[in-house]
């Protein structure tokens, strides 16, 4: 093990602010194959199915996106839209079965992760891609101190000794703003508050200086003031380390503050993709438009009625024909010949430009949505539905945390 001691060892000594500077490129034992000049992360046509008793549920149905160094991609969607499953597929921590990767590629620095043997993937996790979960309390192991869990990463992946690894853990806790890190390194997860636990998890994800950080609803369980602290911290660390962040959330506010680019998902498919500012100010898909209209604002007329999207997200076991959003869409009557109910629209450039993609049959959706009143069949509200999202849950956080890297 000691023969592979990385070049960063000397930096383990520098505790505190100095430890913040970007570290020198590492030589890693599993470097073969990874090409530093290749694009950082590219997901191409990813397809994930859940094979259940009731049938096959296509949780992710052809997701494609890419993210570069120092960039933040936001994946926006509601429960059951496939955003978390996408993240778990990239990390390689899906529960299989019931999940099954039916197709697509996840290319990290020129290497297709889906083709790697499990042993190699385990090394890639934490080292090159790390994940921050929503619920830190269940993602951390309750019976080991946070210091032990942090140093395990260095012991296993870097071959550090006990003392060295502990020193590194303290440096990391300090980096993420835990006061008195040296005293708290031996505390257990339950001894930290919610916000501090989330910091511990961020420290753990950054431990091996990954190239990509996937944050799955990192602030959903937190209060707004703590959420603001955590988002600030993520942005600060991104500036210092230059890693790419994929942030997964249902919160438009978090997307607006964090993401450079946004991918909107609905019923397992990408329905809109573009620069955040562009998508949020000129949405080109009725679903995104509906989301923006259904959240109240802090400024403007408080009495103004909200315009909700009628109905609920569809069952993935039996999704609607054509465009999955058509039963809830207020603008499908503008499309001739019932095209929305018959044919799945392509993800194609919108009138706003080549880089703003939309999945909608309307030729100029933004203009149509601004000039027409939405019209929806009232029956939509009354349909009781067997929501797949309710029953075929993605593997829960508890199983994920152990599937992560801490148990190697």
């Amino acid at each position: 093990m000691s023969t592979e001691t990385p070049t960063t060892t000397s930096e383990g000594d520098s505790v505190g602010y100095e430890g913040r500077r970007r570290r020198a490129p590492k030589s890693r034992p599993e470097d073969e194959g990874f090409d530093a000049s290749a694009p950082l992360l590219e997901v191409r046509d990813l397809q994930v199915e859940f094979r259940t008793r009731d049938g096959v549920s296509r949780a992710v149905n052809g997701a494609s996106f890419s993210v570069a160094e120092g960039e933040t991609l936001g994946i926006l969607g509601e429960s059951g839209c496939g955003k978390s499953v996408t993240a778990q597929a990239i990390m390689g921590i899906l529960d299989r079965p019931p999940a099954h990767i039916a197709g697509g590629r996840v290319i990290l620095r020129g290497v297709d992760l889906l083709s790697l043997p499990e042993e190699t993937r385990r090394k890639v996790r934490a080292d090159r891609i790390a994940m921050v979960f929503q619920d830190a309390l269940s993602a951390l192991n309750p019976v080991f101190s946070v210091g032990w869990q942090l140093s395990e990463l260095h012991r296993r992946h870097r071959g550090y000794g006990k003392q060295e690894a502990k020193k590194e853990s303290i440096r990391l806790l300090d980096l993420v703003g835990i006061p008195g890190a040296a005293d708290r390194v031996n505390d257990y997860p339950h001894q930290f508050s919610g916000g501090m636990r989330q910091r511990v998890m961020i420290a753990m994800s950054l431990a091996l200086d990954p190239d990509v950080l996937i944050a799955d609803e990192p602030t959903t369980a937190l209060d707004v003031t703590v959420q603001a602290q955590i988002l600030d911290l993520l942005q600060e660390l991104q500036r210092d380390f230059g890693s790419a962040i994929v942030i997964i959330t249902h919160d438009l506010g978090v997307i607006a503050e964090m993401a450079d680019e946004v991918l909107v998902m609905y019923a397992g498919r990408c329905v809109e993709y573009g620069a955040t500012r562009e998508v949020l100010t000129h949405p080109e898909m009725p679903y995104t438009w509906g989301l923006l209209n259904s959240v109240p604002e802090l400024t403007g007329d408080p009495e103004e009625a909200l315009l909700p999207i009628p109905g609920s997200p569809p069952s993935l076991l039996n999704p609607p024909n054509g465009c999955a959003f058509h039963p809830r869409c207020g603008y499908s009557h503008l499309v001739p010949a019932d095209l929305c109910t018959r044919e799945l629209p392509l993800l194609e450039p919108s009138p706003r430009g080549e880089s703003h993609l939309k999945r909608c049959h309307l030729l100029d959706p933004e203009n149509d949505m601004r000039t027409h009143e939405p019209a929806v069949d009232d029956d939509v509200l009354e349909q009781p539905d067997l929501l797949v999202a309710d029953r075929v849950q993605a593997p829960d956080q508890q199983t994920l945390s152990t599937a992560g890297d801490s148990n190697g």
Binding site: A228, V295, S312
Partner: protein, 347 residues
């Protein structure tokens, strides 16, 4: 319904008046003799009132006592001290039996539409139970009433024989609302009624609650942490911190001219979609640390440990909730001053 609405005009006697309400939970030592070793001061002397048909929003971070307030009002917890005048009757000293006739006037809407409905009961049974317990309609008409209620909340009346698991989250929340509505309460306590729902569903439920409020002249105590939703729903808002109300006032004052540092910090932390989308950046007040433990709250002003304005007086003396400007606006801070720039953004 028109008569009801006019009698609810401001100036009439409040429907609910809470005075100096206190709820402490004892902390017991471990071991055989479980002595009381401390008190969790969940609510520590709060006062507010709600007029018939009006809404009061209760906001604050987790652990500030806002949910406890709702539960004490329902008498799910016995208040430690204080008065809760509902329609002129003090509910605080009443026994559970004496409380029964008042229960139908106060109903609760829960946060989690999954755990708040019994999975083994049909929707019909769930909604019919309050009708049967309080015998408000003859047994033969119960089914019809249930169907009416389902229709009222936007569900298909013919689905009364189905189980909660057959409905989506938003639809289950509608079932919970129908159950609360069954007894036509005067006051509804909505404890985070939409925070467990998807974004596209939240607006549906908010609109439904507003329609029902208008139609049946129901007063709301609306407990939530989402400041934008509270602003939309409630003309009056109380901000709580660690068991105390630190600022209470009308919507315009709280959001556009907040006086208490905590209110200012809370507002500045909320991401603003439309502003951020066009590159606008709000100056964020960064609060240090976390909310202190309610078992051993800081002396004097409870917010002083995280406050940038704190001076010696804040530790020595607890600031009283004092009226500032209009009669409706009260602030508990030694250094209260309006900040009109909290929601302003710079490009």
């Amino acid at each position: 319904m028109a008569e009801a609405a006019t009698s609810a005009s401001r100036g009439a006697a409040p429907l609910l008046e809470v005075r100096d309400l206190v709820k402490h939970f004892p902390v017991k030592s471990s071991g055989l003799i479980r002595r009381t070793v401390g008190q969790v001061q969940a609510i520590d002397g709060i006062s507010f009132s709600i007029d018939p048909g009006q809404s009061l929003g209760l906001v604050g971070e987790s652990g500030c006592g806002k949910s406890t307030t709702g539960r004490v009002l329902m008498k799910l917890y016995e208040p430690t001290r204080g008065e809760m005048l509902f329609d002129g009757v003090d509910l605080a000293p009443l026994s559970q039996r004496q409380m029964l006739p008042h229960r139908k006037d106060i109903q609760l809407i829960f946060q989690d539409p999954y755990s708040s409905l019994n999975p083994r009961h049909t929707v019909g049974t769930i909604i019919a139970t309050p009708l049967q317990v309080h015998k408000v309609v003859p047994e033969k008409q119960v089914i019809d009433r249930v169907k009416d209620l389902l229709k009222l909340v936007g569900l298909n009346p013919e689905h009364y024989n189905r189980y909660p698991s057959e409905f989506s989250g938003g639809q289950r929340q509608r079932i919970g609302i129908a159950r609360a509505l069954a007894l036509t309460p005067k006051l509804m306590i909505a404890d985070e009624p939409v925070s467990a729902l998807d974004v596209s569903i939240q607006a549906q439920v908010i609109n439904l609650l507003q329609d029902l409020q208008r139609e049946f002249n129901i007063a709301f105590l609306f407990i939530a942490h989402d400041l934008a939703i509270v602003r939309h729903f409630c003309p009056e808002i109380a901000v709580m911190y660690l068991g105390k109300i630190v600022e209470i006032g009308d919507r315009d004052t709280i959001y556009n001219r907040p006086h208490h540092p905590y209110t200012q910090a809370l507002l500045s932390a909320v991401p603003d979609v439309k502003q951020a989308a066009i590159g606008g950046r709000r100056d964020r007040i960064r609060l240090q640390g976390d909310v202190p433990s309610p078992i051993n709250p800081p002396s004097g002003c409870r917010f002083r440990t995280r406050c940038w304005k704190a001076q010696d007086i804040c530790a020595a003396q607890e600031p009283p909730l004092l009226q500032i400007g209009s009669a409706e606006h009260q602030v508990a801070c030694h250094f209260a001053e309006p900040n009109t720039n909290i929601l302003a953004t710079s490009a």
